[in-house]
Amino acid sequence: MSNPSQQIEDELAKLRDKYKAELPAKINQIGRLWAKIKSSAWGTDHPPELHKCAHNLAGSGRTFGFADISTVARDLDLAIKPLIDSHNAPNIDSIANIDRIIKQLNQVYSKIDHTENQQSLVEMVKKPLAAITKSGRISNLILYLVVEHQSHNPNIKLLNEFGFQVDYRHIEDASQLGNKDIGNISQQPAVVVLDLADSTIVENERIKNFMQRLSDNTALIVISNKGEFQPRLQAVRAGSKAYFTHPVESSALIDCIDKLTHASVQEPYRILIIDDSPSVAKAYSAYLQLGGMQTLIVTDPFDTFNHLHQFNPELILLDMYMPGCSGQELATVIRQQELFTSVPIVFLSAESDRNKQLDALSLGGDDFLTKPIEPQHLISAVTSRAERYRGLRSHMIKDSLTGLLNHTKTEEHLEIEIARATRNSDPLAYAMIDIDKFKNINDTYGHATGDRIIKSLARLLQQSLRKTDIIGRYGGEEFAVVLTVTDAQTAHMVIDKIRNTFASIVQNSNQTDFKVTFSCGIAEFPHFNSSSSLNDAADKALYQAKEKGRNQTIIASC
């Protein structure tokens, strides 16, 4: 069965489209009736008919997502009603007023039709979702435009190696940015890199127009020779998300592109909704799901505990008034458990008394949202808090340089995966990777370069391995990888491919180009059947690889 909120969304979208299609006829009808009335037909049926049309439009527009139509139609309703009640033909002033309102109605409609940015309920709540899915799909295409100069930098090849697909185009004259075929690509790019020559002056409007032809989610990066404030400001005004000066450090550029595209493939936030009224909970759940979140509804506060640990929410939406246990009490109980001391709790209630709201917050809530709440407001309030919480959590469990799991967490995950492999009688490969002669690199090129190389290997591992594989930074230049349901031979193949790619990357520091390699030791479960024996065996194999001349992968023998 398909998702019920999706069905509702589809049904509402259909109705909205139908309503939108009929709008011109309704607005024309209003115009026609008013024209007839003006040509001295006040004593006919037309005025009540006109009033009925305006009244219906006022009463329906916003329901279908056209709030402006409702507002203007309501003005019209209010302008006509007194005339009908008094049975007087309109005077010059009221004619001018009604003329103006009908003109405005047409204007509002024409805006809807061409810009498509009306506040439709469905679209309004759908937008964040669209941003996620859209950029998730397009996330690896980079449109790389070199304007008015010949690029000689190795960025493009490197981007390919990091799994990005690059559409490279040379543009002789900045004015060609206006050409339709430049934005004419089979797939929407995730990022546009605009690599400008010294002399190039591109008007902001031109860049903006160019970007407007692409998806809303496409990010712009500008590369230029000019490092001063003015051109940087110009780039910001043209909508650029990042600015680099020549020569561009490849890894910095990749880092930036990674950041700009990474947010897109996030897992949905997990939101627990606790409300004793199923229909309220369902409505909020529908909103949040449309906003791309995963929700779980609990209607009996006494059931909370069963779900809390399983669902592991990143935010809890809590009704203030519930039978048997108030929202404040429940918040306090949740807070008293160590695992949930920092999960955001947001109260939802019709309570508008500020003092009572503050009371609730003092007992463990983080925010207070007053019912009824606009869907967009709910989605953004929940998203921003869940986002911050996830960020905080990741600081606690992840390595700060690479964003990979830290040592402790990697070990924990290894234990979990061993348990799973045991249950399912699956093999598992554990690989320890160490960058060769890392101390030399640090001594020769400095720590900043060393850090960048660590980051680039982290990224390469993330790009090349599966989502189900576990990648941790063990410390220093050492990484640990758990390849689930994989035997040692397969793991050897996978890691060796990564090793070759890494060895071929041209690293640079202060205009010097050099290459870096790594060595790897692999141990297989169940040949080694505990985390400590896997660790020891992989470590020994890694040591052998180093002994044998580095830049190779060795499987631990029993």
């Binding site: 049904e11 509402l12 329906s60 329901t63 279908f64 309501r74 199923p278 309220v280 369902k282 409505a283």
Partner: protein, 135 residues
């Protein structure tokens, strides 16, 4: 005693667009059962076969408007005291007061939000029963 469960709603509205969106709001989202009539007359014709918990009436309808429909329904056996909610784009306070004075329990303003309509109806329902209890 808790309010009796609200399940069956008799809904009278002449605008097909609004009918359709209300059906989604109250049936798909709210889980109620709706009997939809296109006019006051249709409601009067059908009502002897119906046992609604609540009546939802559009105010501005051709031929027979909402208040008239209510007055006529009230004359029918079994319909004397079924609570009525009006739906209208007229939301000036004196109008709301007027509708309430002729017996509506509440007035829902149009345009409404389809996602929260069922909750609004539910709230009105439970408030109505609370006040009945204390009265």
């Amino acid at each position: 005693m808790a309010a009796p469960t609200l399940q069956n709603i008799l809904y009278v509205e002449d605008e097909p667009d609004i009918q359709a969106v209300t059906k989604i709001a109250l049936e798909s989202i709210g889980g109620f059962t709706l009997e939809v009539c296109n006019s006051g007359q249709e409601a009067l014709d059908k009502c002897t076969n119906l046992t609604p918990d609540l009546i939802l009436l559009d105010v501005m309808m051709p031929e027979m408007d909402g208040p008239t429909t209510m007055t006529e329904l009230r004359k029918i056996s079994g319909f004397e005291s079924i609570p009525v909610i009006f739906m209208t784009a007229k939301v000036q306070s004196q109008e709301i007061a007027l509708f309430k004075s002729i017996g509506a329990i509440e007035v829902i303003a149009k345009p409404f939000d389809p996602m929260t309509l069922s909750q609004t109806v539910n709230n009105i329902w439970s408030q109505y029963h609370d006040s009945e209890k204390s009265a």
